[in-house]
């Protein structure tokens, strides 16, 4: 057994050597166990569908020579509400409106692109686009992005030739679905389907249509945590457009 500095170095070497071996061994062992509970950060919640990131509810209904389109007003970032006056229904021209549910950023960008295309169309052809034509345009635009889609489900509602109401919806890659009575989309769509199916009657006058669509919207968003904070309803007839803001359960 040596003494003095040599012994010290030997010890140091041994310590250092075993220290390195311990690190090497640790990397071969299983990773350290996770913390007891995840830190309170919103971003690390279990994966939500991208369509449920912002939360939305949009519905359109056909009445007698008129149509109604309505949406909720909540903008959320997963569970946190960020705005209570978010616009989801946009005007294309006096008799054509589009409601965009799903990811809010895609809704806004898609609306800007569509408004651009429609304005050019108006300048070139010197007339407004028919709702059926506009629906085909939206469908083509969405399918262009087939493998990197806009995460939106549009609802298109308009008065066509001879002021016949026209509504349709499509999925995020452009599969058109025409309907004669009502169309729904958004996180609250399942409750909306049920509510509309039971409350809808054909050939309703504008006032009755307003009541029906408002009730359907409010009762459905009450069942959905991601949409709500009131409603915004537009009733469009050949002669006028009525906008109303609804106050429901503000949560």
């Amino acid at each position: 057994m040596t003494t003095g500095p040599l012994r010290e170095t030997q010890l140091q070497r041994t310590r250092r050597f075993s220290f390195r071996r311990r690190i090497h061994n640790r990397s071969r062992r299983a990773p350290p166990p996770p913390l007891a509970s995840p830190p309170p950060s919103v971003a690390s919640l279990p994966a939500m569908s991208i369509f449920e990131y912002n939360g939305s509810a949009v519905v359109a209904m056909v009445g007698k020579n008129c149509f109604a389109i309505a949406s909720d007003r909540r903008l959320g970032v997963q569970l946190q509400t960020v705005a209570t006056d978010f616009q989801r229904v946009f005007k294309i021209h006096g008799k054509l409106y589009i409601g965009l549910s799903g990811l809010a950023t895609d809704a806004q960008t898609l609306y800007q692109r569509l408004a651009f295309k429609h304005k050019l169309y108006q300048l070139r052809e010197e007339r407004d686009m028919k709702p059926e034509t506009f629906a085909s345009l939206v469908s083509a635009l969405l399918y262009e992005k087939r493998f990197g889609p806009y995460f939106c489900q549009p609802i298109i509602a308009g008065l066509g030739e001879k002021d016949q109401p026209f509504i349709c919806t499509m999925d995020c890659i452009g599969a058109k679905e025409l309907a004669k009575d009502f169309v729904v989309s958004g996180t609250a769509s399942e409750s909306l389907y049920g509510a509309c199916e039971s409350m809808y009657k054909p050939d309703m006058e504008p006032e009755e249509l307003f009541e029906t669509i408002s009730q359907a919207l409010l009762s459905s968003v009450d069942r959905d945590c991601l949409s709500g904070w009131g409603g915004y309803v537009l009733i469009v007839t050949p002669t006028e457009v009525q906008e109303r803001v609804l106050k429901g359960r503000m949560d």
Partner: protein
């Protein structure tokens, strides 16, 4: 005409040995738009191909048949492109595009420069000044389509050297049913007999 459009042309073949049925000067661009040309045949074929493709692209985007003005505008834009790009020459054809859409019957002339005009009645090619004078006298706005066909045949006859027959001319017609049809030789023969 008031309820349709008619376009007609003479088919001048280089020799009597040429099979007339293989030469088609009047073509359709869409089921409701037809076109006739005066000038170089091959240039015409290229333009017809491009215009048909543009009409179909429009339909694919909007699921609506292209209005006549839009197709004329796009065809004229192609012709203008070839007057300004490098290494290409302008198209050696003037087109008469006839169509029937929601704005009624329409007739457009497109020049190699790319400028286009809407006409109630027009002529181009050989003998154009005489033909136009004849049309100015004979054309009325509310004439029926059959009268218009007769007028067109007479206008062709004015400048035709030799004998007009059902095989030497081509006539294309769109009526209110919005279907562009090239008349068969037997139908042309009926009209010729009426004119005589």
């Amino acid at each position: 005409a008031a309820n349709g459009v008619v376009i007609a042309t003479e088919k001048k073949l280089p020799s009597i040995l040429v099979d007339e049925t293989s030469v088609q000067k009047i073509q359709s661009l869409t089921p409701n738009i037809g076109v006739v040309y005066s000038g170089m045949g091959p240039d015409f074929r290229v333009l017809v191909r491009k215009s048909r493709k543009q009409a179909q692209q429009y339909y694919r985007l909007y699921k609506e048949t292209i209005p006549v003005t839009q197709l004329v505008r796009e065809t004229a834009a192609v012709m203008q492109e070839f007057t300004q790009s490098g290494g290409v020459r302008p198209f050696g054809v003037s087109l008469l595009i006839a169509g029937y859409d929601d704005n009624g019957p329409q007739l457009y002339q497109v020049d190699p420069s790319g400028s286009y005009f809407s006409w109630k009645a027009s002529a181009m090619g050989k003998n154009v000044s005489n033909a136009k004078t004849f049309l100015e006298k004979r054309y009325t706005e509310d004439m029926e389509l059959d009268d218009a066909i007769h007028t067109a045949i007479l206008t062709l006859k004015e400048g035709y050297e030799g004998q007009i027959s059902a095989n030497n001319i081509e006539i294309g017609v769109i009526r209110a049913d919005r279907e562009f049809k090239v008349l068969t030789p037997s139908e042309i023969k009926d009209f010729l007999e009426e004119v005589e």
